[in-house]
């Protein structure tokens, strides 16, 4: 057994062993690891496209690795949902620094946006773009939609107004109008908390809650205006304005006419 002992004590034994182990692990992995599918190739392609777009349009502020600069925040861990929201509503890429970035015309196709989203998602785990059934109000009962109203009043209306008409916030910031916002973007905003908005986790507001809220906002803004014209839709401010303009103004004109009419005009 001297031969084996000599071999073990040979100077090259340890490196050789290491190489053998590596070979075994490598071969083992190639057997155990799943075959690379064509989908994955597409994914990789998408990520590469996204990276190209990202490097071109986003990296000047967010950094080449999405680590953030003095101009823009870090994107590590924001998830695909954040990208889909910011780019899908035209807020990103930003034209200039503002108190708050407004929603603008979207200049990217949904494929391009999803490519960037997929690339940004590789920086770190974050909320994903919701599937259609996560945001669709299909199948919700009236009571559940009404519950969505209660949730909206409790969590959203303090900034977004009573049915999502928007509201003012300090220093030129504002909570935007939600009446034209799609369900996907509402979901993404809830999960990622863009700009001034707080982030609501799935433990605080479940996916079912978000669906109910989306359904409520949709229904509340598509129902007929019971009671007549909303006249500016600014609550008591516009009501008081019209009470003076139409009520006092109109009746003062009538009063002028009545006072002018007299027995004197014969």
């Amino acid at each position: 057994m001297k031969f084996l002992t000599n071999l073990r004590r040979h100077a090259a034994a340890r490196p050789m062993l290491l190489i053998l182990a590596l070979l075994a692990v490598g071969l083992g992995y190639s057997v155990v690891a799943p075959q690379q599918s064509s989908a994955e190739t597409e994914m990789t392609q998408q990520i590469e496209e996204g990276k190209a777009l990202f490097d071109f349009t986003c990296s000047s502020c967010h950094g080449l690795g999405g680590e953030g600069t003095t101009q823009g925040p870090s994107l590590i861990g924001v998830g695909a949902a954040a990208v889909d929201f910011q780019m899908g509503t035209g807020r990103m890429p930003a034209a200039r620094e503002q108190a708050q970035l407004p929603a603008r015309q979207v200049n990217y196709s949904q494929e391009q946006i999803e490519a960037v989203a997929a690339y940004v998602a590789t920086f770190g785990p974050g909320p994903a773009i919701p599937s259609p059934d996560q945001v669709s109000p299909e199948g919700l009962t009236e009571e559940e939609i009404a519950r969505g109203g209660a949730l909206f009043r409790a969590n959203c209306s303090a900034c977004h107004g009573i049915t999502g008409g928007g509201g003012a916030m300090p220093n030129g910031k504002y909570a935007p109008n939600l009446t034209e916002t799609t369900g996907v973007h509402i979901y993404e905003a809830v999960r990622t908390g863009p700009q001034q908005m707080p982030t609501f986790s799935k433990e605080v507001i479940t996916d079912q809650d978000v669906r109910e809220i989306i359904a409520y906002v949709d229904d509340a803004n598509s129902q007929p205006n019971y009671g007549g014209l909303t006249m500016g839709d600014a609550g008591p401010v516009s009501e008081g304005f019209w009470a003076f303009v139409i009520g006092i103004g109109g009746l003062a004109m009538v009063a002028t006419w009545i006072a002018k009419k007299g027995a004197r005009a014969r």
């Binding site: 009573i162 008591p236 009470a243």
Partner: protein
Amino acid sequence: MATPTRVAESSPAVEADRAPASKPKEMHGVAKWADERIGIAKIGKFGLRKVFPDHWSFLLGEIALYSFIILLLTGVFLTIWFKPSMAEIEYDGSYQLLKGMPVSEAFASTLDISFDVRGGLLVRQIHHWAALLFVAAATVHMLRVFFTGAFRKPREVNWLIGVGLLSLSLIAGFAGYSLPDDLLSGTGLRFVDGLIRSIPIIGTWAEFFVFGGEYPGSILIPRLYMVHILLVPGILLGLISAHLALVVYHKHTQYPGAGRTENNVVGYPLFPIYMAKAGGFFFIVFGFLVLMGGFFQINPVWLYGPYDPAKVTAGSQPDWYMGWVEGAIRIIPAMEWHIAGTTWTWSVFLPGVGLMGVLFVGLGLWPFIESWITGDKREHHLLDRPRNAPTRTALGVAGMTCYGMFWLSGGNDIIATRFNLDLNAITLFMRVAVFVAPVIAFIITKRIALSLQRADRERVLHGSEDGMIVRSPEGGYSEAHLPVSKEEEFLLTQHLQHKVLEQGHDTDARGVQRKKGGVGRLQARLSRWYLGHDIPKATASEIEAAHNHGAHGEVEGSHGAPELDGDGTGATPHHSADEDAHSGSTAG
């Protein structure tokens, strides 16, 4: 300047009838029956011949009166369906977006009125619009009375009743819009809860007294209901009756004009002319409110949802008449003291409780303050033209401006979102504007009023141009002036101009010894500030001189007016150096 419009010499309605030669016809039938029992002939003779003067601004108070009547009518309808209870039930009505929600009975019954009672939403909206219009018309009516000086002796008491009516109407309105127990009105109640608690030392106790325990409690809606449908309307009804009875007793004021004196009222009798006018106006006001209730949505409580003290929505505002207090609270910087275990929240107490107190106490005292400053103790039945009381007019406009600035602050978030402005910038601007804007408004208004006085004086002395430019043989151009009509001359010169009170004078205007001490230093200084800038109106001798002086119809201005120096006294081209220069240049 335009020539004055012609006024008919007389009319059958204003001419006195010749006394009938025969005895008046005896009454028959129902009229006789009623007269024998309740004496309608005497009442009718007094009431139906009562004369009211004609002016559109005299109808502003009527808008308030009619809105009040419409409020009573629609309010009765609403009480049939409304349940003033804070008991929690599950909503099970027609409005789907609240289905199954836990709501108070008050809120559920408001939704039922809106969606399940036939015509309920229309009546609810008429009621709310009428409430806004009632307070608006009362406010505008008060401004009319203020700017025309109708509050002066002998009407100070009626002015005080009016101030009481206005303050009570705010309470009535507030109690009313809190009843539906929706999220917006509940936020308003929370606001008032804060106001009550901000009263130093007794605040918490007062809150517990009003709410029957800690906010919001469970008895507030029934209490507000009592206040809204019984207590305040009852007092309002009594005060309105007194208000109108005093109008009858004092007789209506009238604007100055030819034939109108302090001892008569020129206008039309109640029957038939004013009955038709006022009655017709009632139906027009009612029609306006029905149209507004029918076409314009107001207070959509179904969107606001049920009240929950934990919730508040962006864009919460009170109805317009509380908006200025809201605005004051929004813009005031935080100020709070803690003394010996008590909290003194000045930033709520001062703008909320303090400002409302200042407004209503100030309004109430104003007739007495003004008569003290001017020393004017006579009766007035002829109204002031606002220009002839420039300081009062300027003060009024300054007050309105201040109110308006607070008002705008109350809508600062709406302004920020609608006009893309910075909320903090609006707040900072308003903090300055509530102090500066009234001063600017005061100065501008006073300048305008004095300019109008100057223009009046010039018109009396100067007349109006006749529109024909005449070229003289020397080449000069001139335009002859026509004297104004006697009626216009009267209108422009009829007003009283009070003398500035001098310090230490212990006799009144007629030389009678005052009982108590003479004019003090403060009174004299205020009097000089208040009256000292008036442009002396044209006197009879000045007008006489002006008429005689004009060789070419040109009317010469007075030389006795100390305030008028050259620019105000009319052109003097016929014997001035520049006329020589003028003819010289054209001749050359």
